[in-house]
Symmetry: C2
Amino acid sequence: MSEIKYPAGVRPFAENTRKSASNKKKYTPKIAAGNRGMDFEAGINETNAYYAEKGLCCITKRPTPINVVKVDYSKGATITQAYFETQSTTDYNGVYQGHYIDFEAKSSHSKTAFPLSNIPLQQIEHLERVIAHGGIAFFLLHMVQHHEVFLLTAEFVIRFYREHPRASIPYADIKEHGYLVPEGFRPRYDYLPVLEAVFLK
Amino acid sequence: MSEIKYPAGVRPFAENTRKSASNKKKYTPKIAAGNRGMDFEAGINETNAYYAEKGLCCITKRPTPINVVKVDYSKGATITQAYFETQSTTDYNGVYQGHYIDFEAKSSHSKTAFPLSNIPLQQIEHLERVIAHGGIAFFLLHMVQHHEVFLLTAEFVIRFYREHPRASIPYADIKEHGYLVPEGFRPRYDYLPVLEAVFLK
């Protein structure tokens, strides 16, 4: 794989991260940031349901890990105390034509970059293991302000992460090294032909 | 695949299911049935951790799906009302030498059979999809009273299920069509060489 090149004038480090933080303030979201992430997730879930229906692949979302502390059995097993845990793997995995598929969906609300602070180290390590065992690993990245979704290979993101932890991947790099995923009505984010072209041809 | 043969005298239907129910009463468990299932699960988790450490495969447990109804943010995001949901897929999946692996772990406390009432239809349908897409799918079945763990191919279990829904797979059939998984200290349940022999040789 070729080395990552930074277009002239683009500094992928802390400067950009700070800029993206101030962007977030300037573009006051009309819906909560969490919900916007949920919309992207919902779109991917719809896409996977569509693919399953058409018999194209079997890719599912891993449930959010929750640490259950108290369960009230007098109310038919109601969980009354529990905490969200960090996903130590990725959000999605499954099988396509016998191949193991593993990916993470992320949204960036910055216009200029994808801040890697969004990715826990555990996730990077998980993706490294997936690649080592011959799986197909990638990110689906929603650049919210550009209304674009990119497939970034996990290899690309991992290398960037390992070289510049806590940095941000500049938008120019995303456009250069990522693959645009067509958006539509059904499927919402048609990433399967992109995956096919990037990893299997 | 050859047809399932019932050894003379073995009736895999309701009779056996009832027998297993009465067995449960006779052999009063010293620890709760739920916990015994957890012990098996814990052993598989240990096995997967061992495999990951040795770089042999990357197979993880899917978190239990939980429907979160109320979260108290005043206490640092404490979930105060939630409900367990049925797993619509299986408990475990991952990648081994590029192959997609998907399996479910079950315990049977009956001496004579594995009651299929333990398996929700959704799980059967999920495994059918996995097979259709070229994945490797199976059950790890703990026959608690025999202190034995078997790998049963999903194909075998699905066929039995489709022919005799709500029945039980007799122990004799499990022994004939299943593959014994060696138990040890580390790894606890060494299923990977069995998987290799059954599916990849």
